[in-house]
Symmetry: C2
Subunit: 451 residues, 2 copies
């Protein structure tokens, strides 16, 4: 807990601790009664978080003249303790929640007031008791991590732990994950975990529970409900869908991207529709697509976590020096270029006196055995090397990605995964340009743009 | 011209040349009469382009049994010849069209069938005679260039040529530009050309005139109408707004981005609303904002083209090696990191055994005098270094961009421009984080996301 000092003082002066039932009497006479919650994010330091009887958490900003009273002492809360064990009773679907860090499971650092990740199942069920109504819950923490510190090594661990849970017989797995790199992890798991029998759902929060606008409860309940009950046996991302608090989207793991720094509805499907909408209060799923693997607990998951993390993304831009590409080829075993338009970089076919072609560098990089993959820096849309001179020159040079509609992030993750299998350039190209986990859509969906 | 061989043979066998009036009699008896246009993009090789009496160009796909007749010989067309000179009569507003390459002014290469850029004012007025109804037209070609070959040196030339036109007394300038890097150029011109008296409008085409779905005429007429008549004396981008052919958006030069590889409505305002909608048939402008410099021909443009092109964009991602950042600092004088979320890269404050912090590298780069600027790889939204531990660590390290809502592209262009003025780190930071040309919005507009 790290409320503002004067609030800390106020509540401790009344003998109040987190977990106690309290009552706030506002200056205007209105009253709010509930359990004092730990403060687990930055947000407004003046606001205390109270869990009301109806299960909702509200942030109450104390003002001059407001009064806080202790109603009854609560039981002491064990925060960093145990795993949640049992669960597979067969009466209710059982969902395993694995904590991988991030805002959804974050707390405030005492010293700086900044947020850091700290998941414990104790926190979780205390903060979101309605989880137990949705499904039988198992849970454990894999790591405390900011998602920007997530690495390909962590992806492997997550994949292996998911498999363990599936083999225990759970009906779905939910991964609590930081949002910054969630779409990298969802892509990696999509390649690593094929032939899934049950849903594997990544979920995060853009804002945490001490803020009135937090999306963590809605996202978490939605993801657990979806993991427990939906037919979609795929790696997905479940996040807030709109500015209102009514439903979440469930996106395909290889076709989703964080598209806004702070909005709750930051996650968007790229070039496809989301798999489904989930209404968490109504416990309803509306499917928007039919092209998913249908749940079948008898199916055996195929695990392939081998990858070569030694891949980098280069962002092409006007004034880019060919030299920088050489440096990438020195440092990495494979390169993804975030190229302009349909898949272009400077090739200077008309011998402009200022333009500097990257073509000789790209050719020599490919000749040295380092694959060069293109992805659109427009984010949306499909590459096509056949339309313009530049595309043709790049295709002739052996660049990979013609007709692919992946994001730079997904192309990178896939290249890591493919380089875990082969260093043969022909095989790399073939495997890269063949759809493995939905990363290359067969056809473009009109509604797959900015929705 | 580069129609499919059999079409070339067919029309030359009848003595038909570009510019002649012809009639196509379809197998089903329907007839189309008009002027045979040059084919100026790849598209469908079987389709010939005819300009109808009503001014529209249609692509006609010839099929077995269709007949083509010469109606009358046209005047020979001068394609690569002259500038369009006169124009400033005072009777109608005068717009100067400068050709900077791109699809909107592209032709097909004879040898390969691929598209290359070739603008001539002769082409222009012949292809789009309705231009003359909208305004008095001047025009000249600055260069034949694919927009992916555009460099900061070209931006300077464009800026200088725009100023010449403004000093000649035109009422607006239209720049025909390739779409791939149009938003880089529009940002550069926004910094270089301040205090503009009249509109400077960049326009392009996603598909060219031999395709039925071409957007070049609509975009061009809209941009010329807007340049001639609107009140917005700013650098803007005018492009197709929706899937229907009714209006274009006019976007702010520093707040726009190509967001799709191929769609005609690929250009989107980022974090703000477009300045306006333009209906080209109705010749109507609907303003969506009020915060623009109002046209005033008496105002003197302030030109500042000095820049240091030696700036690169680094794309942060899981598994990124700190080493690659060092390489950037060896090659460039300034670095923009496309960071995750609110402005994060791996800093590993919790000492995870796999994560590799970039913090020491970033600190030593800044200490060596190379500024490090962040921009969101989410594209949309604003950076905030105060929310999470990572942001605080980066802020302490001297990273630039707190509370800025620019794209990586705009941050890069601005850093080039700022480094053209100073290498003093304190001044760089100050100038970067101060709004110069609308690149940092004062407040976030709800409708500025995915619209």
């Amino acid at each position: 807990m790290a409320y503002a000092k004067k609030i800390e003082e106020l509540i401790s002066s009344k003998g109040i601790e987190v977990g106690d039932e309290i009552e706030v009497i506002r200056k205007d006479g209105t009253k709010l009664r509930g359990i004092l919650m730990p403060r687990i994010d930055l947000g407004d330091k003046e606001a205390i978080v109270i869990k009301l009887d109806n299960g909702y958490n509200v942030g109450v900003k104390l003002q001059e003249g407001d009064e806080v009273k202790l109603v009854s002492k609560g039981k002491p809360i064990e925060f960093e303790s145990m795993e949640i064990e049992g669960g597979i009773s067969g009466e209710k679907p059982c969902v395993s929640i694995l904590g991988c860090g991030g805002t959804i499971a974050s707390r405030v650092e005492y010293k700086t007031g900044a947020v850091f990740p700290a998941f414990s199942p104790g926190d979780l069920l205390f903060s979101f008791p309605r989880l137990k109504e949705v499904a039988e819950i198992r849970g454990r923490k894999l790591f405390d991590l900011l998602s920007e510190d997530m690495t390909p090594q962590h992806w492997k661990i997550i994949a292996e732990e998911v498999v363990k849970e599936i083999e225990e017989g759970v009906d779905g797995v939910v991964l609590m994950h930081g949002t910054d790199t969630m779409h990298y992890t969802s892509a990696a798991l999509s390649f690593m975990l094929q032939n899934l029998p049950v849903p594997v759902v990544l979920v995060g929060a853009q804002r945490s529970s001490d803020r009135g606008s937090s999306d963590n409860e809605m996202n978490l309940l939605s993801s657990v409900f979806f993991a427990a009950n939906s037919e979609v046996a795929e790696v997905c991302v479940c996040m807030h869908a709109s500015s209102s608090d009514d439903f979440c989207y469930v996106h395909q793991g290889t076709k989703v991207r964080k598209m806004h720094t702070s909005r709750r509805d930051a996650f968007r499907s790229i070039n496809v529709l989301p798999y489904a909408k989930v209404w968490y209060l109504e416990r309803k799923v509306e499917y928007l697509r039919k092209d998913f693997r249908v749940r079948d607990k008898g199916r055996k998951v195929k695990v392939d976590t081998e990858l070569n993390p030694n891949v980098g993304i280069v962002y092409f831009h006007p004034g880019m020096k060919p030299e920088i590409l050489e440096r990438y080829a020195e440092v990495y075993d494979g390169i993804v270029i975030a190229a302009t338009g349909l898949g272009h970089v400077a090739t200077n076919p008309f011998e402009d006196k200022f333009a500097q072609s990257l073509l000789p560098t790209i050719k020599s990089i490919i000749a040295s055995g380092v694959p060069v993959v293109l992805a659109p820096q427009t984010i949306y849309g499909r590459l096509n090397f056949n339309v313009y001179t530049t595309g043709r020159l790049l295709k002739e040079a052996g660049v990979i990605g013609h007709l692919c509609d992946w994001t730079p992030e997904v192309a990178m993750v896939k290249l890591m995964w493919v380089l875990g299998k082969t260093r043969d350039m022909k095989k790399i190209k073939e495997l890269m340009e063949t759809n493995v986990a939905g990363e290359i859509s067969e056809s473009s969906v009109y509604d797959g743009f900015l929705v």
